[in-house]
């Protein structure tokens, strides 16, 4: 397989290639191919991102005799910002000096809020409809994407950039303590961005991709640039993309760059979070809320409210907009230790499967779409893009 082409080249020779821009230690390792075939799609999941046009709601509200601290509306950045957002919500909660705290919701925002509250000294009960493994959280992408659909630039509060940075940096520090553990709850991997055209040059229109329908809702947004971006604030946290020169490019595509990204293995990481919560004496009560007033009936008088997308109905928050996302799951291949993007399809190899995600139309994809039914054909089409990519490698004896 051509993927292993670079591995056949002694590294010392590679470093001597004239004009090589990548240092010898950065030459891509031997890459195992992804067995991308539609029949290996063993699951397709759909998630509604809890996008809030104004950015996450962290306000304090009083209902009856209870004080509610909101923590919802993290769009495509929930996993990434969870710890930092939880910390802000818990600090507010602790300002009331409660001995007991209720957390509503057991997605990644609720669970991290509960753990941070325990660390702050409170006894915590989570009230939830579902446990983590059945929430929308685990149907998300689960990569470090802290400013993915986090707010609309025109609607984010003026001070939100600073608050976002505080959340992102706190989370990043917290994830440090989950690296290097058995089962890789949190890990890094290389991500290869493949393009038929040079960086910065628009791709030709793909006839297979239908154009976006005209927006049927009122107001913003209509294009990717309408979404707020803050990544420049934390540029010191991430490694910079490297352009792979022809002599070390392992792919049959002309333009390739590589960056190293952090991601979360839902199974192991989720299990670890649940275990930590229980080990610290946490309790869970299965319960569904229909009206905000029900929160005043809880034993705990300080409540951290983490309902995710359900806030749209439960709190009638008009700023909440559904953003549909779908992931196709290929059978796990532990030997595949990288991800790639090509022709608007992204893959990411995790311990519980290889994610395949169609990304055409960027941040606008799925906007205002609350349909959580599976569209398998979309995932199969995305898999075929990757299948076609690997079919261009010469077959044969060099299979990794």
């Amino acid at each position: 397989m051509g993927l292993a082409g670079c591995a056949a080249t002694p590294r010392r020779e590679a470093s001597a290639v004239a004009g090589a821009r990548v240092a010898v230690e950065d030459i891509p390792p031997r890459l195992s191919p992804i067995r991308a075939h539609p029949d290996r799609l063993f699951d397709v999941t759909v998630c509604i991102r809890p996008f809030r046009t104004k950015g996450p709601n962290l306000d304090v509200e009083h209902i009856g005799g209870a004080t509610v601290i909101h923590n919802y509306g993290h769009g495509g950045s929930g996993w990434s910002l969870s710890w930092g957002s939880a910390n802000i919500a818990v600090q507010k909660a602790m300002s009331f000096n409660p001995k007991e705290i209720a957390v509503v919701g057991c997605g990644v925002i609720g669970l991290t809020s509960a753990i941070i509250a325990q660390r702050a000294g409170a006894k915590v009960t989570i009230y939830t409809r579902e446990l983590l493994d059945r929430t929308r959280s685990v149907r998300a992408n689960g990569s470090w994407t802290p400013d993915s659909r986090i707010a609309l630039a025109a609607e984010a509060p003026q001070n939100f950039g600073a608050l976002w940075e505080q959340m992102a940096r706190y989370s990043w520090k917290m994830y440090r303590s989950y690296l290097g553990l058995a089962g890789d709850p949190v890990a890094f991997s290389d991500h290869y961005s493949l393009s038929d055209t040079p960086r910065g040059v628009p791709r030709p229109v793909d006839p297979d991709v239908a154009p976006l329908p005209r927006p049927t809702w009122t107001g913003l947004p209509t294009q990717n640039s309408d979404f707020a971006r803050y990544e420049d604030r934390i540029s010191d946290l991430s490694s910079k993309p490297q352009i792979l020169t022809d002599d070390i490019n392992p792919f049959p595509v002309k333009h390739v760059s590589r960056a190293t990204r952090m991601f979360f293995n839902f199974g192991e990481y989720g299990h670890l979070l649940m275990s930590q919560f229980f080990a610290a004496g946490g309790k869970i009560e299965i319960r569904e809320f229909h009206y905000p007033s029900e929160m005043a009936q809880l034993t705990e008088k300080v409540v951290i409210n983490c309902p995710g997308y359900a806030a749209r109905h439960l709190w009638k928050d008009p700023a909440m907009v559904p953003v549909r996302g779908q992931v196709g799951w290929l059978i796990p291949q532990p030997e595949v230790k990288y991800g790639l993007s090509y022709r608007s399809v992204q893959t990411l190899s995790k311990t519980d499967g290889i994610m395949v995600i169609a990304l055409e139309h960027g941040d606008m994809k799925g906007y205002n779409d609350a349909n959580e039914s599976v569209r398998r054909a979309e995932s199969e089409q995305a898999v075929r893009v990757i299948e076609e990519l690997y079919s261009r490698f010469p077959g044969g004896s060099d299979k990794a």
Binding site: L58, D59, V60, E61, H62, G64, G65, A66, T67, N87, I88, V90, Q91, K92, A93, M94, S95, F96, N97, P98, A120, G121, P157, N159, A162, L163, Q166, Y170, K173, K301, V302
Partner: protein, 158 residues
């Protein structure tokens, strides 16, 4: 019987002491115990003396504790005098006890302001007795506090 009388008298004396203590600490940080101008001075001092460890939003870092949230829970039930003494004794970390009492009072005013405690018409005194007479209360559950993010006063009973 005599024993009971003695016990009752002792209890009464203790209660009286408690009432006296209560009278001495009848003010609360919820009552507006600093001025905005003082907090502004404190902000300037905080920026040069404290921010490097405790952060621009008083959020703390892995080494220094936050001065919001859990900080309130940690000091709730004590007096501003207790907190003031702690600051005066231990801060700033690189030169503990080096700041004048008036500077520490200004910094304390700023910390109260960031934590959404109301300001008032009188500056926070740096005198030990005055500080000991101010109770450190947490935000009242159910209303009366100010949301530290938006700054908006949250409606509800104190």
């Amino acid at each position: 019987m005599n024993r009971k009388i003695i016990l009752a008298a002792a209890l009464a004396a203790m209660s009286f002491s408690a009432i006296q203590a209560q009278a001495q600490t009848q003010r609360s940080i919820l009552d507006g115990v600093y001025t905005d101008a003082q907090a502004t001075r404190g902000a300037q001092q905080y920026a040069t003396r404290c921010l490097v460890c405790h952060g621009a939003a008083l959020e703390g870092n892995t080494l220094a504790p936050p001065l919001t949230g859990r900080f309130i829970a940690d000091w709730a039930g004590m007096t501003l005098g207790d907190l003031f003494d702690n600051i005066a004794l231990t801060m700033p970390l690189y030169r503990p006890g080096s700041l004048e009492r008036s500077v520490n009072a200004d910094i304390l005013a700023y910390i109260l302001k960031v934590n959404a405690y109301p300001s008032g018409s009188q500056e926070l005194s740096a005198e030990p007795e005055a500080l000991k007479a101010i109770r450190f209360d947490a935000w009242p559950i159910g209303g009366g506090a100010r949301d530290s993010l938006s700054g908006a006063r949250i409606p509800g009973p104190r």
